[in-house]
């Protein structure tokens, strides 16, 4: 390693030799960097999981236009209802060949043994498969039978194994909202931060479950566009058809991106995760600074000697940055391994979509290098105390 680094740096790798000379301190430093990495990865993982869980319901839809109420329209599940009349008004537009309402409601499913899960219901027209993800088109047809549901096998807190084989010919009965339903198929969506699972039912079954809701006031309206139609142009033209401030119209992908942004930057949970990332980075910087500044303090006489010999400031900066980068580059890997293990454990225990992505790993690696380099730059201030004249 020494020869490799010497060739790379064009000089003796003094920083590497200093670090490895004291294995105990090196291990403690690496543990500190790894710990800070785990902190950052955990927060980023949870934030990413929240973004992913926000995005999953949108992926049930074909990426055309979505009409939302202008009230509380930042999120898919919390938005106010809007008149179904807006659907018929939209169909006037020549580039809107069809549309379908979506009804959304939440209920608690008590499945026995004190286990309860918060279920997000999507009430959909059973003949509207073309508006949804291709994989849903066929199962949606089976919802034409009253009081049937496609249940989420990834629902939290419930043993869903008995539902895995559910078909229209062999429905699996269950009770929710004091009503007996039959599971006639499965979906794999999973819970997020707002619920434990997603069940799909027909609009008629939805009204059985939520009798206070009316078919005249859907939660959202999905619009299909004619092939080649520009979603932005059509959305702008549709808005002109409605009374002012009565709807918001967005492409499904835009609505998804906007909700992710809203959840991450304006809701407390997202801000807490962001704050956690900052705390993790600060912890990492402090740990690396402590290690590097202690190392500088321990070698002041040697640095003063090097100054006396005529080494310039750039040489010392090089040594400290070398140490910082080595700490970051080695300390990152155990942090990554622990974090991946943490993700797997959390995903297993909670069914939230948390997993390591290459982009996140690279971002944290680069961030670790930069944070350690910043620590090194801060630690360099101690170099001023290395006075060669004091050596005599």
């Amino acid at each position: 390693m020494t020869a490799f680094l010497a060739r790379l740096l064009g000089r003796l790798p003094v920083g590497y030799l200093q670090l490895t000379h004291n294995p105990g301190r090196l291990l403690a430093a690496l543990a500190g960097v790894a710990f800070a990495n785990v902190l950052v990865f955990v927060q980023l993982g949870l934030a990413g999981s929240m973004a992913e869980s926000v995005a999953i319901p949108y992926r049930l839809f074909q990426p055309d236009l979505l009409i939302l109420s202008p009230v509380e329209s930042e999120t898919l599940t919390d938005a106010a209802t809007l008149p179904r009349q807006r659907l018929f008004q939209a169909l006037v537009h020549p580039d809107v060949p069809g549309g379908t309402p979506i009804y959304m409601g939440r209920s608690t499913w008590i499945s026995g043994h004190d286990a309860s899960s918060s279920i997000q219901f999507f009430g959909l027209a059973s003949d509207a498969g073309s508006f949804f993800h291709d994989a849903l088109a066929a199962p949606l047809v089976s919802l034409s039978l009253s009081d049937t549901a496609l249940v989420d096998t990834l629902t939290r807190f419930v043993d869903m194994r008995s539902f895995v084989g559910a078909t229209p010919d062999a429905p699996v009965p269950f009770e929710i909202q004091n009503r007996q339903l039959g599971a006639v198929g499965n979906v794999s969506i999973g819970g997020g931060f707002g619920g434990d699972g997603v069940f799909l039912v027909s609009d008629q079954t939805f009204f059985h479950l939520f009798p206070q809701r009316s078919s005249a006031t859907p939660s959202h309206i999905l619009l299909a566009l004619a092939p080649g139609a520009d979603p932005e142009r059509v959305a702008a033209e549709l808005v002109q058809l409605y009374p002012p401030d009565t709807v918001r119209i967005r492409a499904v992908t835009d609505a998804m991106a906007q909700e992710v942004r809203y959840q991450m930057t304006e809701r407390p949970t997202g801000l807490i995760f962001a704050f956690g990332v900052v705390i993790g980075m600060v912890v990492g910087i402090v740990i690396a600074y402590q290690v590097l500044s202690a190392d500088v303090a321990d070698h002041l006489r040697e640095y003063a000697t090097f100054k006396a010999m005529g080494f310039r400031q750039g040489f010392f900066i090089g040594i400290i940055l070398e140490e910082a980068i080595i700490l970051a580059a080695i300390g990152f890997w155990p942090g990554l391994a622990f974090s991946a293990l943490f993700y797997q454990t959390l995903a297993y225990l909670t069914n939230i979509p948390i997993f390591m992505t290459p982009e996140r790993a690279v971002a944290v690696f680069v961030g670790t290098i930069l944070a350690c380099a910043l620590s090194g730059i801060l630690a360099m201030r101690k170099l001023a105390a290395a006075q060669p004249a004091d050596l005599f």
Partner: protein, 240 residues
């Protein structure tokens, strides 16, 4: 007489500022010839180390004149002083070896100060010099595994490896036994004779006085005696 490589004129030096300042050197005048071995002597606090550090570009010269290798140090900026230090070799009483580097690596640092170079050539030069100083079997030892005398010899090798114009040494033989101490100073003398390397040394070691070309004695910040050493037959120039 050869030309001086160090010329000190009317040098005063103060530590501290204002009322708290203390004068350490008073009107010091000195010329050091190329290739000579000059020994600075004097009691503790006499100013010999201060003079050494001023001539060695380790402190700023504020009053008087110090010409070092044809460069005026009074008012010289840090960049010039760093450049000049690269042409000097320092041997400290406390060897100040880097504890993470082997003997060979410590000596190689004396070459690497001059920038990138062939590491294999640097290693060969370090090995050669360490061999001359009797440390050929200790090339890969860390300082912690060397005796005090061995460390000092590594420090001497580090100072000599880049063929400096001038060596400044502070009690270089204090940690060495008689044979090693004499061998080290003989090496300085040999370098002076063959390469013109000048040595300015602070020492109290009476064993090496016989090798000095010149002995300068300071007391209370003043040169009180400046005379040729036993190794010099003819008298050196008087202080300028």
């Amino acid at each position: 007489m050869t030309e001086p490589v160090i010329t000190v004129r009317h040098l005063d030096h103060f530590f501290g500022e204002g009322e708290a300042s203390k004068q350490a050197l008073f009107d010091v005048n000195l010329a050091v010839e190329r290739g000579s071995l000059t020994i600075l002597m004097g009691p503790s606090g006499s100013g010999k180390t201060t003079l050494l550090t001023l001539m060695g570009c380790l402190r700023e010269v504020g009053s008087g004149s110090v010409m070092l290798l044809e460069h005026e140090l009074c008012g010289a900026d840090e960049a010039l002083r760093v450049d000049l230090r690269r042409r000097l070799g320092f041997v400290f009483q406390a060897h100040n070896l880097h504890d993470s580097l082997t003997a060979r690596q410590n000596v190689m640092m004396g070459l690497q100060v001059h920038g990138r170079g062939d590491p294999a050539r640097h290693a060969r030069a370090a090995d050669h010099l360490l061999g001359l100083l009797g440390l050929g079997e200790r090339l890969h030892y860390l300082p912690g595994n060397l005796s005090g005398g061995q460390k000092q010899r590594v420090a001497i090798a580090r100072a000599l490896v880049s063929n400096p114009d001038i060596i400044f040494a502070d009690e270089p033989t204090a940690a060495l036994d008689k044979v090693s101490g004499m061998a080290a100073v003989q090496l300085f003398k040999e370098l002076g004779r063959t390469r013109g390397t000048t040595t300015v040394m602070v020492t109290h070691d009476p064993r090496i006085l016989d090798l000095a070309d010149r002995i300068v004695t300071l007391e209370d910040g003043r040169i009180v005696r400046d005379h040729p050493g036993p190794a010099r037959n003819e008298p050196l120039a008087a202080p300028v």
